[in-house]
């Protein structure tokens, strides 16, 4: 429905040319009024704060009464800043790794989970457990768990001969710790989404696959995977956005270090905005950040839904 379309009298329209399309409904532009409450809400929760940020991003503010308009200067300096670029690439790499690990792993867990019997509930509880823990607690748990001296995980890894695991000193160790933590925390989300989709497949499909002599792989590829398309689209979007904006956990575990090994965009941003109180660059940074997430999500969504047609 577009605003320019003439408003039809639903009864008359239905009488002389019955529209048999399943989505045929009388058209009435007053329906736009129904959207109004949402518009009001979004204005105050999103648009106004966003405009504040836009406001910061184009000015250099010295004090509340002393500010100058700088145009796109902050955007230019932020995109040229090597620290920002480094953080951007790091975050992108992190998101890519998160998706590459969590999506297949989540699907594999979902496929392996029982379809019926009392084990279903048991499996669901075990899988869902990490999702119930608050972000900063997850960070705290892993900060201790991964410590080479007193943490169970870090200590165990150090028992392997020739390995010296210490995430506070070694960049690779820190990266791996944050990655494994994210996998542990969020793969269950993918698994649960995929499991719900798999459960909705009627039993005869699996019976037919048995009759047709399909291998386990063929059954997965031909019956289960096609049914996962919808939820995997959602899972990929959620996991991309969330991992691209990851903040709390690495902040608690590594604080962005050692050096800047785990300094992701969000951590850098908060350092600029809160730590240094550089509101101009931080505003420009935020807007770019926001834009990247939007664009990448849009591309994912379009590609994934197109390929299904």
């Amino acid at each position: 429905m577009t605003l320019t379309e003439p408003v039809k009298d639903p009864v008359a329209a239905g009488a002389d040319e019955p529209d048999r399309r399943p989505d045929a409904k009388p058209k009435d532009n007053r329906a736009w009024l129904l959207v109004l409450p949402v518009v009001v809400c979004v204005t105050f929760t999103a648009l106004v704060p966003l405009m504040t940020v836009v406001n910061y991003s184009v000015q250099d503010i010295f004090s509340p009464s002393d500010r100058i308009f700088v145009g796109l200067e902050w955007f230019r300096s932020v995109t040229r800043d090597p620290e920002v670029r480094g953080a951007f690439l790091r975050t992108l790499l992190f998101s890519a790794q998160v998706l590459l690990i969590e999506i297949p792993l989540g699907v594999a867990i979902a496929v392996a989970m029982p379809r019926r019997g009392w084990t279903v509930s048991a499996a669901l509880v075990v899988v869902a457990l990490p999702l119930l823990i608050p972000w900063n607690v997850v960070g705290t748990i892993w900060q201790i768990f991964a410590r080479g001296d007193i943490g169970l995980g870090g200590w165990a890894v150090n028992q392997v001969p020739g390995v010296d695991f210490n995430y506070t000193l070694d960049s690779a160790d820190a990266w791996i710790t944050v990655l494994v933590m994210d996998v542990w925390h969020w793969t269950p989300l993918v698994a649960l989404l995929a499991y719900a989709a798999l459960r909705s497949i009627p039993e005869p499909y699996f019976q037919a696959a048995q009759i047709d002599g399909a291998s386990a792989w063929a059954t997965f590829r031909r019956i289960q995977l096609p049914r996962l398309r919808g939820v995997l689209t959602i899972a990929i979007l959620l996991r991309f956005m969330d991992s691209f904006m990851i903040y709390t956990e690495p902040f608690v575990v590594t604080g962005g270090g050692p050096g800047n090994a785990t300094s992701f965009l969000s951590i850098l941003l908060s350092k600029i905005a809160v730590g240094q109180f550089d509101l101009g660059p931080a505003g420009a940074f935020s807007l770019l950040y926001f834009l990247i997430v939007q664009i990448v999500s849009y591309v994912f969504f379009t590609v994934l839904t197109r390929s299904g047609r």
């Binding site: 005869p204 048995q210 009759i211 096609p226």
Partner: protein, 363 residues
């Protein structure tokens, strides 16, 4: 190919409290076309699933010829089965759907192509081979599912679970004769589940009637029609079904509503019975005789090709079939005569004898 033998096979979904299929011993003979007929929920699908190995029976053993397959999984049994509702690999084309069972079994490429094309020609799918199966209408989807069941050459049996219910009635007739042809050409054992008696009677060499998880009668279509062994078979097959009248056996005589209908053949313990006679074998207008009962006409349904005359015979409703344009009027007193050898006695729904003329064959 070999016979499929069920030895004391029964299945319960709830650990033995109720039987979906009661323990039964039965042989599906190689190369025959069977129709499995029965009301909803009588265990038809369960029985098929036991044969194909989708279900392991609670009791009993399943034999393919000399080989026991009770615990052999479906893949090892070489059975083709088509389900009640279309089951397709939705992302694949019609061609790939048909080829799927063959490719999984590593048939050579040219053989796959030959068989897929043969099946698609027989089922009229040629024009749709390249389409994504999800795009087809449900009737065609079911035909594709059917095609997947028929594409293999090496099967021990083809099990069809009401394969044509979702198919357009006009196409159904053609498909049924196609199935018959395929059966004749391949010689596979065929088990065809249906609710529809016409379908069963025209299709099968042998009709198996299932009720409450037990086989109540099996035989050639004519046999089931002419001499039902169970009241249910009488009701279920034929249209309208068999009339049953409450009666009594005493001193060798069969009485209905106080009137003597005839003599019970053979010694039968006295007591209540039900007298069953099909409308086709109840005739009006021949005057009094035996076996038979006095009756009063209550109404006539003109069916076009024939008339169905509703009467009260010795006080009980009964339908008799008469030629089209019969002269009977409601309220008229008549005598309804039963064809000799076609009136049966049932006790506990099971046939226990028949009604014969009072004095010899004369009637």
């Amino acid at each position: 190919m070999a016979d499929i033998r069920l030895e004391d096979v029964g299945h319960s979904y709830d650990g033995g409290r109720t039987w979906a299929v009661r323990p039964m011993t039965w042989t599906w003979r190689s190369g025959r076309a069977y129709a499995l007929l029965g009301p909803s929920g009588c265990g038809k699908t369960t029985l098929l699933n036991i044969m194909s190995g989708l279900i392991t029976p609670t009791t009993g053993r399943v034999w393919f010829g000399e080989r026991e397959v009770t615990s052999v999984p479906t893949a090892g049994r070489n059975i083709a089965q088509v389900f009640q509702f279309p089951v397709l690999y939705e992302e694949m084309s019609v061609y790939d759907n048909l080829a799927f069972p063959l490719r999984n079994r590593r048939y050579p490429k040219d053989e796959v192509d030959r068989r897929v094309r043969a099946v698609s020609r027989m089922l009229g799918l040629d024009a749709h081979l390249g389409r994504r199966s999800r795009r087809l209408d449900p009737g065609r989807q079911q035909i594709v599912s059917l095609g997947r069941g028929l594409v293999r050459s090496d099967v021990a049996a083809v099990l069809l679970d009401e394969p044509l219910t979702v198919v357009d009635p006009a196409v159904r007739w053609t498909l049924r004769s196609t199935l018959k042809e395929i059966h004749r050409d391949t010689g596979h054992t065929l088990v065809y589940v249906t609710h529809d008696q016409t379908e069963a009677l025209t299709f099968a060499d042998e009709v198996v009637v299932l009720k409450d998880g037990a086989i109540v009668q099996a035989g050639e279509p004519a046999e089931l029609f002419l001499s039902p062994a169970h009241e249910f078979v009488g009701h279920f097959i034929g249209s309208p079904g068999m009339n049953t009248l409450p009666g009594e056996v005493a001193d060798g005589l069969v009485r209905v509503g106080g009137q003597v209908a005839g003599r019970a053949d053979g010694p039968l313990p006295p007591g209540p019975v039900r007298v069953g006679v099909r409308p086709e074998f109840a005739r009006l207008g021949d005057g009094p005789g035996s076996p038979g009962l006095p009756a009063e006409v209550t109404g006539v349904d003109r069916m076009g090709a024939y008339d169905l005359v509703h009467v009260r015979a010795a006080g009980h409703p009964l339908v008799a079939r008469a030629e089209a344009g019969s002269p009977y009027e409601p309220g008229a007193a008549e005598f309804v005569r039963f064809a000799v050898g076609r009136v049966f006695l049932f006790r506990d729904a099971v046939r226990c004898g028949q009604v014969v003329p009072l004095n010899g064959r004369a009637g």
